[in-house]
């Protein structure tokens, strides 16, 4: 393989070459194509836009929430529903790189036990490599690569987010904000920051104490801003990914939101 010299057009050609090299397994070609983007730091700007891939890019679901709230397990439990409706699904999971040594333990894949090996799922673990956001800076470029490889839908798992981190909404078509029973009292829910964002709010671990309270408080907070338009998003749901409760309801809402977004994209076409 040619060495990268930071020339975007070079990277673009190498990605297209990989797409065409059908003698190799798809997972290998796509894996290498994503590395090209990750290691050359080219972004999703016009450099990667290609005429032949001018179709709508895959719908991007982004999952945010604090560390340990259950994002990886939730994604694993939702995958069977996506497999029912879509042909080729990609998961991009970011975990933090150390600011001390630059290393990372990418451990989200451990939760993928049940779907590991399914050829219709492409799963990639990504280290943040110094990104100031809750996702790797390579993700916009990677989304372009996934479009080139005809991925239908992308699930982006962010790092456990801090209260003030709301940049994930910039890459999301549908943003799923996940909270746990330890989200705090009512005042926490009224603060600025991450809770201002979300098309769907999901209270996970609903089998644990306090989740009903968080659910009610959040629902009241969100809906009191929306009284004239109560049918609109955001929506609040609760359930338990671990116990597979509320998964189908959550998926159906996600699907509904995706259709709304796609419709609005089509309507905005010239």
């Amino acid at each position: 393989m040619r060495k990268l010299n930071g020339d975007d057009s070079d990277v673009r050609h190498m990605i297209l070459d990989l797409k065409e090299k059908v003698s190799e397994p798809l997972s290998k070609r796509l894996g290498q194509a994503l590395s090209l983007v990750e290691n050359s730091k080219i972004m999703a700007e016009p450099s990667l836009q290609l005429e032949e891939t001018s179709s709508l890019r895959p719908h991007v679901f982004v999952f945010v929430g604090p560390s340990g709230v259950g994002k990886s397990v939730l994604i694993d439990r939702l995958i069977p529903f996506f497999l029912r409706d879509f042909n080729f699904i990609a998961v991009l999971a970011t975990d933090p790189s150390s600011s001390l040594g630059g290393g990372a333990l990418l451990g989200d894949r451990v939760r993928m036990s049940e779907n590991e090996g399914n050829e219709r799922i492409f799963y990639r673990s990504i280290a943040s490599r110094g990104s100031k956001n809750a996702f790797s800076d390579s993700i916009p470029g990677m989304l372009e690569v996934l479009k080139i490889f005809s991925v239908d839908v992308v699930l982006v798992e962010t790092m456990g987010v801090a209260q003030n981190d709301s940049t994930s909404s910039t890459i999301a078509d549908t943003l799923i904000n996940i909270l746990g029973p330890t989200a705090g009292d009512e005042i926490q829910l009224y603060k600025s920051g991450i809770l201002e964002y979300g098309d769907i709010f999901f209270i996970n671990k609903s089998d644990l104490d306090n989740s009903d309270l968080i659910y009610s408080l959040l629902k009241m907070k969100l809906y009191q801003n929306l009284i004239p338009q109560i049918e609109k998003f955001p929506k609040v749901l609760k359930g338990s990914a671990d116990k597979r409760e509320g998964m189908e309801e959550l998926y159906n809402l996600m699907y509904l939101h995706m259709q709304k977004v796609k419709l609005s994209k089509i309507e905005s076409l010239p």
Partner: protein
Amino acid sequence: MNKRTPTRILIGKLGLDGHDRGALVISDYLRNLGYEVIFSGVHKSASQLTNIALQEDVQAIGVSILSGSHIHHLSALVSELRAVNSENILLFAGGIIPQADFNELNELGIKGIFPSGSSLESISLWLKENLSQKNG
């Protein structure tokens, strides 16, 4: 930001062996050295581990095995990697592996063998040397 692109290493567990302490110790150690370590979780098959290595585009795979079935599982892993033309991925293994099996594993293409009791430093030195040879 690091100027150097971090090396990606898959630490995997094959078969019914569910003891992951050693794999986690190695993963944490390599992470501290600046590697990007993908941990597969336990109970993977050779074909699953190969698919993970391809999707994650790793430069090396370290397999931890304590069940005694290292020859069986590692042979399967080597054949799976050959089948997808990815025998260039550096392989190393650790766990309960008797000296008597070293030759057979070497012949399979597993040059780095670290039986229980090996020092962490011996693993990092071996990796450093072999990864630089591979890239050089």
